[in-house]
Symmetry: C3
Subunit: 154 residues, 3 copies
């Protein structure tokens, strides 16, 4: 049978001044602050909120229930998660099983990093390829899978 | 000189009922079961077989020689491999050096995870960012690079 | 307000003979040698140089200041970095803080791998999901985050 074809697009986005989006991108129902940049091959889902001057680089994925502060940098291929398979598998649309993510200001998230449903305070740097599985409440440079404070205790 | 430009598309796909694909996607020569969903910026190569109701999220890559069961979830940026560079480099089209991947039913593969040519049994969850390098024959939650059973021996 | 929409494309690329690019791709201001292949959903930035017969697979990202040799293989979702957040955050366009990456000939970079600003010698294989944080001057198979020589000392 023929599949039902849909298409990406920029729909129902609340934008501040000076926002740039490079298409193709799938950006819908979210809020982008003043001066935000969104690169190509990016998906930002409904309800996500991105602060002023934050840059979202190519191939990034930002899901529902994610709030990102101002002056952040979401590098290429960085991805967020709201469903941590906590019940042993995907929530399949049961949002009571989804978790929120809150990212502070001046947070930089490295290339190919993955962010579970956590809170990250201001002035944090997440290294390339890191997988953040727990809340981060201390500024610093976090690397590895699972992510740990660089130079901190193991 | 001018490059030869080709374009992605949905070509020669055998679809069950109720399949949805979000374009742009590069989906060709594969089989998608009833109720499958394929998100944007996805590539699914010729010969891949995807079971009923399985969801393939944005940015995923599923290569030739991969078979995925029913009710699975392939999260954003998850990627499969059929060439494990076993000869010290890419097989460069020598398919005798490629390996098969067989994924059971109700398997969830986390965001940015990478799956080498392996077999994974039913009811397995692969964590975000994990790299699966060996067969998995026991249901459970596998995390890390290389992926190990969470809470299992090290 | 309405965002400023831009679009990906193939612009100002210096190509050798027999180059193939699969669109949509964002490839601009770079140099591609004879027989190069560039898959879909790829971004290659200005100034990048790719050697003869090198293949860049879908979802890869190659940034400015990256030079890749001949007969290399950049697998799906593999990404390069020129800004290692060395000052505790993104350089935000201050190129004096960016680093160069030089990849030799016959280097294979695995799926979802991430390459920091480093030099990698000829005949190296980087495993899937690896994060390369240091120069590599010895041929071999490097895996993990951070990447280490497989079978080498820890």
């Amino acid at each position: 049978m023929a599949p039902d074809l849909k298409s990406v697009g920029i729909r129902d986005v609340t934008c501040g001044e000076g926002v740039t989006i490079v298409e193709p991108a799938n950006v819908y129902g979210c809020t982008l602050g003043n001066g935000c940049f969104v690169g190509p091959f990016v998906e930002i889902q409904a309800g996500a909120v991105i602060g002023d001057r934050t840059r979202v680089q190519s191939h990034a994925f930002i899901c529902e229930l994610v709030t990102i502060g101002a002056d952040c940098f979401v590098s290429h291929g960085a991805m967020f998660i709201n469903d941590s398979f906590s019940a042993g598998g995907p929530a399949r649309g049961d949002r009571t099983k989804w978790g929120h993510t809150r990212i502070g200001d001046r947070v930089s998230i490295g290339t190919n990093a993955t962010i579970m449903p956590v809170s990250i305070c201001d002035d944090v740097v997440i290294g390339a390829g890191a997988v953040v599985t727990k809340d981060i409440s201390e500024p610093g440079f976090y690397v590895g899978n699972p992510a740990r404070l660089m130079g901190g205790e193991k």
